[in-house]
Point group: C2
Chain length 206, copies 2
């Protein structure tokens, strides 16, 4: 049994893993650093994550999926429905995502990146478990964007293609922005999204 | 003096570093593994790269920049001019890039990713030298795409925004494709690029 205090420790460990992955990647994040960052008792890591780093990495990726997904769904937990955001235009929702990510980059002096990208690139060839968690994380962002486009009148197949391209563009733009220490690439992505939505008649169909 | 054989060893070491970074990331690539992969004599690494891993990583990023850049410029060395590709439409050039990257993913059973993305995400907070190399690499892809758009009649400011968004989208799509073990995300990016080019009147203005 893990009590309230145990659940807090488990949650702090996952949060610390997430932040350290965002900063240094997965391989560059040692478990001792995670325990120290979380201010958790030594030994607590294998109590809460008996399968070790891979399990903790999976939890961190799930945490990132839910957190960024909630920007799209407008709810505190990411779901594949766009109910909570039905009143916002697609452009408004995606604009909010761009603003949040720009804020994360500037607020961290361009030291934080996307944990799902880096885990995919480092561990995709090593761990099916982590690769699967990353695939699920991307899907958890593509699905609600796609649903939002459908809710605003786009055919399902067009919506899926557009949502996948938009998530890819935002993902890539965070990386280019981090490399260039400028949010300009993210802003360029925002402008391209507006063009894509207009070309697809998305806003016009509302 | 580094003779022909020395230059070959230096080149093989950089190629091996590049491939191992594409597969496992930067932190997960040990120098012993690089020397072994390159079939190079022990001790040759610090002879050719006296500053060690960071210097070798920088060379690998430069190599990746030139290799992928040449897909856009159509030449064996990447330059910021689009002369060699002036006869191809922008859509054709970017379609060729998408095809090449899809081939790389499928040919490696989705084990290879973009070395510039992963070095940015792992080392952006650690090494100004590597972060700078990654920023230069992205710029070496954005600039020729932008020049190609200008050559096909787009205003320079519009071309720059579009080129930055396109490079970000392709970059992100390689990562999502790798996570999902499918080239569908890359194909979605290709379709979105066609929509962007059509919306911007790029092909129409030729």
């Amino acid at each position: 049994m893990v009590g309230t205090k145990g659940a807090e420790t488990s949650s702090r460990l996952a949060e610390s893993m997430l932040e350290l992955i965002q900063r240094h990647g997965y391989s560059g994040t040692g478990l001792n650093a995670v325990v120290e960052h979380a201010g958790a008792p030594k030994g607590s890591l294998y109590f809460h994550f008996p399968q070790g780093k891979e399990e903790l990495g999976e939890r961190a990726v799930e945490l990132a999926a839910a957190r960024f997904g909630s920007l799209v769904t407008g709810s505190s937990t990411a779901t594949a429905t766009a109910t909570a955001s039905a009143s916002a235009t697609v452009g408004e929702v995606l604009g909010r995502v761009i603003d949040e990510l720009a804020g994360m980059l500037e607020g961290s002096d361009f030291q934080l990146g996307c944990p799902v990208s880096v885990v995919t690139l480092e561990m995709g060839a090593e761990s099916e478990r982590l690769r699967g968690a990353c695939a699920d994380a991307f899907e958890s962002w593509i699905a609600p964007v796609s649903e939002l486009l459908v809710a605003h009148g786009r055919p399902r197949t067009v919506a899926r293609v557009l949502a996948t391209a938009v998530v890819s563009m935002v993902e890539g733009a965070v990386i280019v922005s981090r490399a260039q220490r400028s949010t300009d690439p993210l802003r360029c992505a925002g402008q391209a999204i507006d063009v894509l939505l207009a070309a697809q008649g998305v806003e016009a169909s509302e």
